[in-house]
Symmetry: C2
Subunit: 428 residues, 2 copies
């Protein structure tokens, strides 16, 4: 008989409790599949007295996650606390330093300190697994790192923040504005303690950082992701996009070309009838494109007790089965520095602006675009009752740089009220 | 430095050549990811003189695949010949007997002889991998066996025959009938040598057998799959389904309940706006449902040189990385015999029949359904110009047994011309 695989879990929130439940409910199944008993030895959380809905008296309790990580009666440290500094980082380092493998759902920690942690793990001959850090229950890290390992990956895209997707789909479905839905998400508990992690694209940007590292063999570099949140998307944008056959999604894209590596997380227009366009509510989707496989699309629940615990347990089963793969799919010392693309690949853009009611205003906007080398595919000026007229422009393919140049020049014309909304139309 | 992983490939059709191309094109990438050089040593096909578009002179040539399988200078036997008897089976057995791991795309071989081969592999301490056997480039075997290993799987569904999906979607898109599109598929080379493998649901049934074995820990048992092809689907069915918000798909479903294990491959109605309903052309889709993960949907190309070679290379990389997992996810001697559900789970059904133009005919049909305990949700009789009237019925939830009983009784009423078409409406 093989030795049991002994776990310590730090963090007993929704996901932690979900993992405990699976370990108990599916003990026989897990042993049949992995050939080893999966045994929970110790847990850690701040408050031992809190009612978490299940009894935890069979497990040793550590108030300090670092003490849990150092215990010599566990093989795997399961980090479900979150946060990229402090206890989560210290405990992960302590676990690796004392010979444990690590399973984590912590996207922020790995997006920011992943390179150092991967190096530490490899030096110690240990493994870090993080399926639960990206796109909840979807086995996307495994698909990308292992299933598609024969591919040169050309692009990875994803809708990976359920809260943003919920807000954007509810805006179209209910006609409520961004602010009302943002408040609703707060009441429903859909928002992180710092809501900017969600609506500012940071959380999804962390996830994109991890996918991008695996896909392109680069060091994870969250600071090289171009981030833009959904806070400025209005109902008008949602409706204009729908009229033209598009939906607006907070879309992460990592793409390598001769220009370098582009990594961006921003609201984009995608065709309404594409898999990404049809994605509703809290569901996540990741699209992976490779030179051999063409395109694979993975869809599933992006969060929640069961789905995230499923991803954690997938990693635990891998460790029980003896899988040994470097953190980001190849040895950490072979990962290259990200060389960001100086100019992104061209795309059509959607522009919405408020034009001041002055003679020649529209002509000035058109001239500014022309001077930046941007040609116009469609333009509409809407009727208006106040001093500004809503204007909608869809450009032909152009670069973000040319667009930024035009937007700067546009501000100087003094015919546009406020800052235009500019959204990329992504080919999917 | 690790030793290279040495391959022998039997079968140099589209997929075999695709694998050779990846090994050559991505040598550096594969070595970076797996830590080992992937080296092609020998190949086998019937005709050495045939022009396959690339030079094969660097590899030893074996006319006999069994001789290739037995070579002592290969570590992995890659079987891409196909067929569940004869050379493919003998060569696979020979490879295992002489200490090689096996990577295969052969769904028929494993669906029919998988249990014996898995037992042989385990007795020899070898591995059989078969990602390319199911759903082309989609890493579905890996997702189910590894990524979702923490789940008790409740249902696996899939559209896994691109030719059938092409025919069904083209019927709706172009208004051409089944026969015309069947002939077109023949001209385009989309059909197997025995077309019944495609349109009779056999090929997709083989794939379902493999998914079902992994999902439910049962011995692969193709003979326990209830098979029905798409040959009787008419344009009328396609249009009626569309009118009601459905699409017809050749859908494989494996589902476990207290009744036992249901495994069926049959044309079903699915909601037109569901991911399965929206799947077009040769694309494949697999839906996996588990107690923790809820639902994961995987979509990608179901065939073709690049996608299938991508799946083969995923398995090769796993072997290079030292992965060791039993063929069907748990040791072959722990797989249980399939206990088929005596009665399938109830569902609504779509019925289309030609009613003879006799007084009381419709009443007789309705009475027969009532006697079988089947209640009618919707019924339409269409105008007609000959001696039979098209009648369309959607039932409330009923079992296939009750329906078969009603269909038998209906034949005895002598008011129905020919055999009614009966299609399950699947909840997705």
């Amino acid at each position: 008989m093989s030795q049991p695989l002994r776990l310590g879990i730090a963090g007993l929130g929704t996901v932690g409790i979900g993992v405990v439940k699976i370990i108990r409910r599916q003990a026989a199944l897990l042993e049949a599949r992995t050939g080893r008993r999966i045994e929970l030895v110790a847990v850690s959380a701040r408050d031992a007295s809190k009612d978490r809905g299940i009894s935890l008296k069979d497990y040793a309790w550590e108030t300090d996650p670092v003490a849990l990580a150092k215990r010599d009666d566990i093989d795997v440290f399961v980090e479900l606390m979150g946060g990229h500094e402090g206890a989560a980082k210290e405990a992960t380092e302590a676990a690796l330093a004392t010979g444990k493998d690590v399973v984590t759902a912590n996207k922020a920690l790995l997006a920011i300190h992943g390179q150092a942690l991967a190096e530490q793990a490899e030096a110690a001959g240990r493994i870090i697994r993080f399926e639960a850090a990206v796109a909840g229950g979807i086995p996307v890290i495994k698909s990308l790192t292992e299933g598609l390992a024969g591919n040169e990956i050309t692009r990875v895209m994803g809708v990976m923040n359920g809260t943003c997707n919920y807000i954007l789909t509810q805006m179209e479905a209910t006609g409520q504005g961004y602010n009302a839905l943002f408040e609703e998400c707060g009441r429903l508990g859909y928002l992180e303690a710092d809501p900017n992690l969600d609506v500012g694209g940071i959380d999804a940007g962390h996830k994109l950082t991890l996918l991008s590292s695996i896909a392109f063999g680069t060091k994870p570099a969250f600071d090289k992701v171009r981030l833009e949140g959904i806070q400025r998307i209005s109902l008008e944008d949602i409706h204009h996009a729908a009229d033209m056959g598009f939906r607006i999604k907070l879309l992460g894209v990592a793409q390598r070309s001769a220009r370098g590596l582009e990594q961006r997380m921003s609201p984009c227009l995608v065709p309404a009838n594409s898999p990404l366009g049809q994605l509703e509510g809290g569901t996540n989707m990741v699209v992976i494109e490779g030179d051999a496989v063409e395109q694979v699309v993975l869809r599933g629940p992006g969060a929640g007790e069961g789905p995230t615990a499923s991803a954690v347990m997938g990693d635990v089963c891998d460790l029980a089965r003896g899988l040994k793969i470097p953190t980001f799919g190849q040895p950490a010392n072979t990962l290259e520095d990200v060389v960001p693309a100086q100019t992104g690949l061209p795309a059509p853009y959607y522009l919405r602006m408020s034009l001041l009611d002055k003679p020649g205003a529209l002509a000035k906007v058109a001239a500014v675009l022309g001077e930046a080398g941007i040609s116009i595919d469609r333009m509409r000026q809407y009727g208006h009752e106040d001093a500004t007229a809503p204007v909608l422009i869809v450009t032909h393919k152009t670069t973000r740089d040319a667009l930024d140049q035009a937007l700067t020049a546009m501000a100087e014309t003094a015919v546009v009220d406020g800052e235009p909304v500019a959204l990329r139309i992504e080919t999917v």
